[in-house]
């Protein structure tokens, strides 16, 4: 008889693994990604492939030659980072800028902090902000949805502002909301608007979010508190002055709020651990997003809002503990 194996309990393990979580996120992102490909054509596919390949490659190279440790590219986390980065940039972004973004995400934000699970900030978002500051023109040149299916393979499509972009510039020119032509709710809902390749289709993002909840990869706390806060805050502003401030439904559907609330703010590594912590985190993201959109210099505030709240996560984790069973006050 073989010697018996001895270890502490429990002796069985649940089915969930890092791999199953990461591939679950990829599956959840697929509807929104497919919507991006539908609206922006083959360019979206190229950006995505470059982003994923370079993220995985950088992780492999850094682990092999710099850190000299076992490679972890099989766990799927670099694929998720690559996919998220691609979905947060315009599909017209030059490939070499995508590669630089991947290097920032994997090399600086993830590996320099100790690899998977150790990073304080969301890698894809830091990379996006890095690119925005480094290449402001390329990062704010938004391809518009292709008019004709014949143009799917066309790389030089028509560009134009995002809904939030037109809102910002035209308000700055002194126009009232009634004078500004914004896309219809239907277009916002389906994604027939300019924007980052993965952020445009509200319905596709919501389907992905429901899948994440169903698989129990995320909980409802962050998306719901984020979206609700943004809705209430922008709603109050709109009620105060509907000529100056866009209505709350527009704020929810336009820009990166849904991809941010469902996929970026819920990043497991960079969000709080407890239910109340997550709710506070979501409220913070919601408030900051609207503050930046309405009062800030940038038309969009989702990336900055989430990154700022990422920095608060250690404090939130310390301040918001779960309610213990039978806790004696």
């Amino acid at each position: 008889m073989n010697p018996l194996i001895v270890s502490g309990s429990p002796h069985i393990h649940g089915e969930m693994t890092i791999k199953s979580i990461m591939w679950g996120v990829v599956i959840a992102l697929l509807p929104a990604w497919l919507a991006g490909v539908w609206f922006f054509g083959i360019a979206a596919v190229i950006v995505t492939l470059v982003s994923i390949a370079s993220c995985v490659l950088f992780e492999f190279l850094i682990q092999k030659f710099v850190l000299k440790q076992e490679t972890t590219i099989n766990d799927g986390s670099a694929v998720v980072t690559g996919l998220l980065l691609a979905m947060n940039v315009p599909s017209s972004l030059p490939w070499w800028q995508v590669v630089i973004g991947s290097l920032v995400a994997i090399g600086i934000v993830k590996m320099a902090f100790g690899g998977l699970g150790k990073n304080l900030f969301n890698p894809a978002l830091v990379a996006r902000v890095f690119l925005l500051i480094s290449f402001p023109v390329a990062m704010t040149t938004w391809p518009l949805p292709i008019e004709s299916r014949a143009n799917v393979f066309n790389f030089d499509g028509v560009t134009g502002p995002t809904p939030l972009g037109s809102l910002k510039t035209q308000l700055a020119m002194g126009q009232t909301l009634a004078q500004i032509k914004l896309p219809s709710y239907t277009d916002l809902f389906w994604g027939n608007i300019g924007g980052s390749l993965g952020e445009v289709s509200a319905i596709a993002l919501i389907i992905g979010g429901i899948y994440l909840l169903y698989r129990k990869i995320i909980t409802w706390h962050i998306p719901v508190s984020y979206i609700l806060t943004a809705f209430i805050f922008s709603g109050i502003l709109w009620l105060v002055n509907p000529n100056r401030y866009a209505d709350p439904i527009f704020h929810i559907l336009a820009g990166g709020l849904l991809i941010g609330a469902i996929f970026m703010a819920t990043d497991l590594v960079t969000s709080p651990m407890t239910a109340w912590g997550k709710i506070i985190f979501g409220i913070g993201c919601g408030v900051l997003t609207i503050v930046i959109r309405v009062f800030g210099a940038y038309p969009e505030g989702v990336s900055f809002a989430i990154l700022i709240m990422n920095a608060f996560v250690p404090l939130i984790d310390r301040a918001f503990k779960p309610k213990r069973f039978g806790e004696v006050k």
Partner: protein, 443 residues
Amino acid sequence: MLKTFQKGGVHPHENKLSANKPIQPIDPPAKIFIPLSQSLGAPSKPVVKKGDEVKAGDILAIGEAFISSNIHSPVSGKIEKIDDYFDVSGYRKPAIFIEVTGREWNESVDLSDELKEDIILDGASIIQKVKELGIVGLGGATFPTHVKLMVPQGKKAELLIINGVECEPYLTSDHRLMLEKPREIITGTRILMKALGVTKAIIGIENNKPDAINLLSKHASSYPGIEVCALKVKYPQGGEKQLIQALTGREVPSGKLPIEVGCIVQNVGTTFAVYQAIQKNKPLVERVVTVTGTNVLNPSNFLVKIGTPVSVLLGKAGWQPEKAGKVIAGGPMMGKALLNVEVPIVKGTSGILVLNREESFRPKVQPCIRCAKCVSACPMGLEPYYLARVSELEKYDLAENGAILDCIECGSCQYICPSARPLLDHIRLGKLKVNEIIRSRNQ
């Protein structure tokens, strides 16, 4: 909506392979040994010596300390020696070794199968007899039952809870007992109610045992004070505090016993043992043990004499030693992995689970990705990732402040962890250290 506890919990595959196997008595081998430490608390003191002849049911050792218990001989035979053996964890522990010569019982024990429902003894005599006949909690914790029945000054018991949850995967010994001895269990419940002076009892059973729920409900119907309650299947519902909350909504305060909220919890196996002690004068010398796992050809429920080596049970159930990787005393969530199979069945052994080699290794440990699954799975509302981390860093003051001593070691956190981190290993160590620190602080 079925009742259950509120916070955390997990739902592992139930794998109740032996649920349809009737309880089958098995004979002890020619030599057995009875460990002197069979309940929580101090080891018992032997009252026999080498060369003595004993009958089944004779007393072997007495529990002198407040928390300790009496031990009786499960067989008739001759005391071979009182010596150390290696226990499940590989520690030397004293035991009484007996050469089995026959099956002769002490004359005072009623061996008939006849059901005796009339309770003659009064409360105090019941508790005294439970103590004399060595009844301990058979759910696994082996807390001496008579101590649990003595309600401390100033506290009042109002509700007896009978734990028929059996939330551990694989185990079916309580389930079988409820199916085969329902009237004895109801009578045992009435005995415990009388001992405690309570008028109300609830038998909590998880919904994956509808046959047991129906049967016990039928037999309980003639006693208005006894209610059978079906519970949603969720681990660790068999934990005392979880079960009390599931059935009554009451939360036992941190660091306190169930009596704080007026409840006393007893396992169905214990309840049956109490019936046998009070109505049949039979000491606790045998118990039902599930032998199970995919490695075992005939998953079974055996009625086993205390002291029978695990190897005998494994042989009877047809285990495949060449494929076996782990042999576990208890269930897969809280059981203890055995170093060797020559250790005896003791009062607290509810099952023997054999895992095949390929099922026996833990998945590879990966970095924590802060998914917070452990936090939402913890039935005590703790933060397992944090407690494991500070224990690993030997920051025991932080562990104490994080209420590490509230941990019931159910293993839900480690079970659910997608990174397969050894959370409970670290927390267990942290608990030991924190307990040491508290003890030295109080000196």
